[in-house]
């Protein structure tokens, strides 16, 4: 392997590897804009210029590869390449490029939505000139261009790095974008009659190093430095993309993909990302509800749990063959384990199923037709999976009590089946429903448990590849909206059985007991990118 030197560091680097990748891998930072690890090399921004000994001019680190010299030609007797990233020449080059990039770039950071996460800002402090020498009217270009349903383009802020163009050509292979016009008037544009409209379009805003492409849903909602963030997992399909959830006050404002080579690379779909918008539409339940003659009355956690335990007591033990538990693959492993615990301790004869939900087809990139994040987890726990589209009403035939969690059965049922389903649910003596909000299923229940949203709790989830990832809560739910495992603890206590407690940790312990492949894992092992486990069928 060639031996190269970058600044003071001796590195053995594989032949043909680029200088930029080699440097980054070994902790030497070279600034760049147009290069992206998942995209082809464009070499256009010229920010990554470095000095390579023997080359007549500075070379772009993104495109210059490690080469080998014959033994008698080695530099200083041993190096195949000597690269300088801190020399005067390099600093002058970096300064020059930044000055060029900022010449016609509006210097109105205070009103730019990218401020705070802008690479132009970041590099200006490290590599740039303190003041602008541009004394002329800047070139004006179209602003607020409606380039697609979820993305807005500002040609003045654009540095023409073409990451977005290459993303559409190489990743989604939809090719909506191109450079148009020439010289300093160059802009990114869509081809005539087209829009930046593909299932992953907002990824272009993620990879845009400046404020040129912004997400319609997020732009101008909040300054990024005020956001609270948590590393989580997208719950919208079986891919389970690694995401970061950003929230402000009581709202999730956006989801952005986190790099995870084994799951989603750098991307996520627009549908998953727009979870933040759908959350805004929802009306989460804040209090546990009990149906009386005059409809629902709100209770507190403390008063609700005993009522629930008392009402379900007649169906416990031997009588539990008249009970059915319908779980959801939206539940993390800990909630599923809690449901199993509930079954084992109180309703040993009960039937327990998890309906699979499919929609559309798997696409070539990320999207899965399995629309639930944790169906794989359900099968790892040995839960019975109900095939997608299976009729739901028969589940309740001959049953007296049912527990339906995190699914609105009416949304899953075929249109023709809804009437029968309604009858079946109404025929139950006791329907307990738990969800983030009162769904049509919840509206029929006698007891309604408000459940913490995906973004409000911790839990493990297993994607279709068997990668176990951990969600984290970006928002704290109100006092009486709790994860299901929390409710189960209280339920068990109220029923006189000992529960492991309302926290995540003991339930994580229960999961480890039930899934041998996780037995020796600690919470930190799942961060940041999850663990791929062997498929285990207990």
């Amino acid at each position: 392997m060639p031996l190269i030197r970058i600044d003071d560091k001796e590195i053995e680097a594989p032949l043909g590897e680029t200088i930029l990748r080699t440097a980054l891998k070994h902790g030497i930072y070279i600034p760049y804009y147009c290069w992206h690890p998942a995209l082809s090399i464009a070499g256009q921004c010229r920010m990554c210029l470095v000095e390579v000994q023997g080359a007549p001019k500075p070379l772009t680190a993104c495109s210059t590869t490690v080469t080998a010299l014959p033994p008698d030609k080695k530099i200083d007797g041993k190096y195949d390449m000597v690269v300088r990233t801190q020399s005067e020449l390099v600093k002058r080059a970096q300064k020059g490029i930044l000055e060029f990039l900022l010449l016609n770039h509006p210097l109105d950071c205070p009103i730019c939505d990218q401020a705070g996460e802008c690479q132009l800002q970041a590099y200006s402090y490290t590599f740039g000139h303190p003041a602008s020498r541009m004394e002329f009217e800047k070139v004006h270009a179209p602003k607020r261009v409606d380039i697609g349903p979820h993305v807005v383009y500002d040609a003045e802020r654009c540095i023409k790095c073409t990451r977005c163009i290459r993303f559409c050509e190489e990743i989604t292979k939809t090719g909506e974008l191109t450079l148009a016009e020439r010289g300093v008037h160059t802009v990114v544009d869509t081809f005539p009659g087209r829009k930046l409209d593909n299932p992953y379009s907002v990824c272009t805003a993620d990879i845009c190093p400046v404020g040129a492409l912004t997400s319609k849903e997020f732009r101008f909602k909040e300054r990024v430095w005020f956001l609270t963030s948590a590393n989580s997992v997208c719950p919208e399909c079986a891919r389970g993309c690694s995401v970061r959830m950003d929230a402000y006050k009581n709202e999730v404002l956006r989801l952005v993909p986190r790099e995870n080579p084994q799951v989603n690379a750098f991307w996520m779909c627009d549908y998953g990302r727009l979870l933040s918008e759908r959350l805004k539409e929802r009306k989460p339940a804040a209090r546990p509800l009990v149906r009386g003659k005059a409809g629902f009355s709100a209770f507190t956690t403390e008063t609700f749990a005993p009522l629930l335990a008392e009402a379900l007591a007649p169906f416990a033990g031997k009588a539990s063959s008249a009970v059915v538990l319908v779980l959801s693959a939206r539940m993390p492993l800990e909630e599923m384990a809690a449901a199993l615990e509930l079954k084992d301790r109180l309703f040993p004869e009960a039937r327990l199923v998890v309906p699979a939900v499919e929609e559309g087809e798997d696409d070539a990139l990320l999207i899965r037709k399995d629309r639930r994040p944790n169906l794989k987890g359900a099968s790892l726990l040995g839960l019975k999976i109900l095939p997608p589209g299976a009729p739901l009403a028969p589940l309740f035939a001959g049953k007296k009590a049912a527990l339906v969690l995190r699914e609105d059965l009416f949304a899953l049922a075929a249109a023709g089946e809804r009437e029968a389903l309604k009858k079946a649910l109404e025929g139950l003596e006791c329907l307990v429903a738990g969800d983030y909000e009162v769904t049509p299923t919840g509206a029929l229940s006698r007891f309604f448990l408000p459940l913490a949203g995906w973004h409000e709790m911790e839990g493990l989830t297993v994607n279709f590849q068997g990668v176990v990832q951990k969600t984290a809560r970006v928002l704290v739910p109100p006092k009486h909206r709790r994860p299901f495992y929390d409710w189960v603890s209280r339920w068990l206590e109220a029923a006189g059985a000992e529960g492991p407690g309302p926290q995540f940790a003991p339930w994580f312990q229960r999961v480890k007991e039930r899934i041998p492949a996780l037995a020796d894992k600690a919470v930190r092992d799942f961060l940041p990118a999850g663990i791929r486990i062997e498929e285990v069928t207990p």
């Binding site: 070499g43 256009q44 921004c45 010229r46 001019k57 020059g96 490029i97 060029f100 020439r182």
Partner: protein
């Protein structure tokens, strides 16, 4: 004084000079027959290498060496690997108009050179990419190609040699940058005309990703002369760093502007004062751009140089396309440079930062200086901005804009400063207004 040569221009001026019969009447296509029937591809290649034929497009890169970069079939392989030639007829460098003369007057000389190069490299065919503004040239060349097909010089099994070769004529859309070899290929493929990041070079990844060799029109036109007369004869003309005949296009303030065919390395003074008849109006010479607008400008006291790479290096310039632009003392150098930078800023493809932004900035600084609003510090700024472009871009357009800017500002610093000091053009020029 050297008499003008009649080698490359041997058919120029003859009646019906573009017709294949005219061309063949004076020995045309004999070099091709010689190459096909009496020489192996390797012998042809070696002859061109021995002749040290230098590229006439601007970089003066040895053509034979360039041809040898193309892959050839290896021992035991049956078929030659697919590869193409490209003829760069996008002549778009300001001050350069020599290729047009050949295309419109002697297309068969170019075509024969292409064919011999095709034989030497065992290429499958050649794309003749001609500048969009030369519709007549495109028609003439297409007719020449058709005639060559009709005579069996193109197509399958040429002259019974078993060698197949095709030529396709493609017209550009008029962008300067499409004279850059890889931008030309992008344009040829129907894409946005912008240079590719190199490596890979065209010899590995050329037109449609196929290994390709690209030469200038005049370079190909030299090939039949070399094959007909031999490398020794060829190198007896011109100088070691620019052997053979060369077309010098002289424009600007001379009495007889035009194309002069003279040996490579002839003195610039001789071209200006003997062939081109001296300076227009018998005024003092002020400046000369020796090799097309991209090459550094020379002062009047620097013209005693050989017009070859070695000679011009001694005065900090380059041979380029040998398009000589002459300026007498009526020219304002700031305005002249502004004119050039307007061109480069307009023609920058816009993909890489230094050229896109820098050329435009230079244009703004120069316009303000010429209009009288400039500052003395602008002169250093011009040099500094140009140095930030120079050597930092994907393709040579950045250098092409920076080199004249640096040389104008350095060679004529006093005149640039005078603009700032006086607050107007000292020559009383009113700047052109252009729509930005």
């Amino acid at each position: 004084m050297a008499e003008p040569l009649k080698l490359l221009t041997r058919n120029v001026g003859k009646p019906n000079s573009t017709h294949i019969d005219t061309y063949m009447a004076s020995g045309g296509y004999e070099p091709l027959m010689k190459a096909l029937h009496k020489m192996t591809p390797e012998q042809v290649l070696n002859e061109v290498k021995a002749a040290n034929l230098k590229g006439r497009g601007g970089a003066a890169f040895p053509a034979g060496l360039k041809w040898s970069f193309l892959p050839r079939k290896k021992e035991g392989e049956k078929k030659e690997p697919l590869k193409y030639l490209v003829c760069n007829a996008d002549e778009s460098e300001p001050g350069t108009f020599k290729d047009r003369l050949l295309i419109e007057n002697d297309p068969h000389a170019i075509l024969e050179g292409i064919l011999i190069a095709g034989w030497a490299t065992q290429a499958a065919g050649c794309f003749f990419y001609i500048r969009g503004e030369m519709p007549q040239g495109a028609r003439i060349f297409q007719r020449a190609v058709d005639q060559a097909y009709a005579k069996g010089f193109l197509g399958k099994n040429i002259l019974g040699s078993g060698f197949d070769f095709d030529v396709w004529v493609a017209r550009g859309a008029g962008a300067y940058i499409c004279g850059e070899e890889t931008a030309l290929m992008e344009s040829l493929e129907g894409k946005r005309g912008q240079p590719r990041l190199k490596p890979p070079f065209p010899a590995g990844y050329g037109v449609y990703g196929v290994p390709s060799n690209i030469n200038n029109v005049e370079t190909y036109a030299n090939v039949p002369l070399i094959i007909q007369n031999g490398a020794a004869w060829y190198t007896s003309i011109g100088t070691p760093s620019m052997p053979g005949p060369r077309l010098y296009g002289v424009s600007g303030h001379v009495k007889r502007p035009g194309i002069y065919e003279l040996p490579g390395g002839v003195s610039l003074r001789e071209i200006l004062y003997e062939h081109a008849g001296g300076i227009l109006g018998d005024r003092p010479l002020k400046a000369v751009i020796p090799g097309g607008s991209s090459t550094p400008v020379l002062r009047a006291d620097q013209i005693d140089v050989a017009m070859d790479p070695d000679g011009l290096k001694t005065v900090g310039s380059m041979i380029g396309s040998a398009g000589v632009i002459v300026m007498n003392d009526t020219v304002c150098m700031v305005k002249a440079l502004l004119n050039l930078l307007e061109f480069y800023a307009r023609e920058s493809c816009g993909q890489c930062t230094p050229c896109r932004e820098g050329t435009h900035w230079l244009e703004l600084i120069l316009r303000r200086l010429e209009e009288g609003g400039g500052k003395e510090a602008d002169v250093d700024l011009i040099v500094e901005v140009s140095e930030n472009i120079m050597g930092r871009t994907i393709c040579p357009l950045g250098d092409a804009a920076a080199m004249p800017a640096i040389s104008f500002a350095k060679q004529f610093r006093e005149e640039f400063l005078a603009h700032a000091k006086l607050g107007r053009c000292p020559m009383g020029h009113v700047p052109m207004t252009t729509v930005v």
